[in-house]
Subunit: 188 residues, 2 copies
DNA sequence: TCCTAAGTACACCGATCTGTTTACTTTCGA
DNA sequence: TCGAAAGTAAACAGATCGGTGTACTTAGGA
């Protein structure tokens, strides 16, 4: 395994700090201190803090969806079971000791403007999650895969809010039970 | 109608600015400029910015739940219809030209620590919403009012995320359709 | 071996942040 | 009418913000 590039070091530490402390509340001085690089190096890789934020969001999207797909497909064999296993992944995620909600919901909260790049990347992340659910629904033989995917994702988002805002980590299990109703409806 | 007190002026403008621009991104200088008061006056009513934030969250909770209850009870006669009318209220809210998502989800995003006062007030707001739903479910004769209330609220939270992060204002209607399944189940 | 690219350390910039202080003015009830 | 309470404007404090400039050091390939 090659040593991580300076750019990777910066993105990794920025990702962790932005996720657990927020975007505005995390200064670049803190990031360079923890990443162990000079400010000059940071600004040679990213023109502005906003550009760094975008890079962290893109990396988070990649890491998150990879984990979601891996855990979902590892613990369930059939496409139908996988549609529900997504909620088991959620439950595991909620148990992470550094769980701080959905980074993209958080980003949208801090960057309200819908036309702002960070908000747009967040919306795109959500679309990609729905797209994955739709592919599972199609494989499972759902009558309306797009509809089922949005129903399941609606429940996922609800569970995330429960887990983060209210601290209710059991929400994933309840969302799973609710999801079963919609899966059953579409698959007979 | 008596002229609003200075304190009310401050809270009202702070509420609007925090809601549309975020908490960290809104400085007290901006608040006092728009509220038309001096900085001294602000700090005579609130010891710190954090205390002002808490006051705005409490006022938001009051305004939001009052509106939700008013609109829900105005447009539906029976308790059963009211359980679904909550989603019509959501749809109206999403259409507000200054809609910026749920202020309490946004606050939790910026104040991640669960023991932090702002996060705790946000969690309490969500509990109060569920409590209202539970009272409607009880009146409607639900078999498990608390369970139904949490199911409906899970769908509400999901719809809010759809509307805010993805800009999908139609989510309220879809959540309503999903909610009907759970209402029917509990009321025969 | 030597040149270049990339890195470090750190001072510095102007702006902005929360919060305080000073000195003056307005308001209003006893 | 007068005096206290509450307000104003504005300077100020010290910290921190995002971002730049300078001078020096390191590492690696031709």
């Amino acid at each position: 395994m090659p040593a991580p590039s300076k750019r990777e070091q910066i993105v990794d530490h920025a990702l962790r700090l932005f996720y657990s402390n927020g975007f505005h509340a995390t200064g670049v001085d803190r990031i360079i201190a923890e990443a162990g690089v000079s400010k000059k190096t940071l600004y040679s890789h990213f023109r502005t803090k906003d550009e760094l934020i975008l890079a962290t969001l893109r990396k988070r999207d990649e890491l998150f969806r990879n984990r979601m797909m891996r855990e979902t497909e590892m613990h369930a064999a059939s496409p139908r079971e996988r549609l529900l296993a997504v909620f088991d992944f959620l439950g595991n995620w909620f148990q992470d000791k550094d769980f701080s909600g959905c980074m993209f919901i958080n980003a949208s909260a801090e960057f309200a403007e819908e036309s702002c790049p960070s908000h747009m990347v967040s919306a795109e992340h959500k679309r990609l999650v729905v797209e994955y659910l739709e592919s599972l629904a199609t494989l499972a033989g759902a009558r309306e895969p797009a509809e089922l995917a949005n129903e399941l994702n609606m429940l996922m988002e609800g569970a995330i809010v429960y887990a983060y805002v209210m601290g209710d980590k059991q929400a994933a299990g309840r969302a799973r039970e609710m999801a079963r109703v919609f899966v059953d409806r579409q698959l007979d």
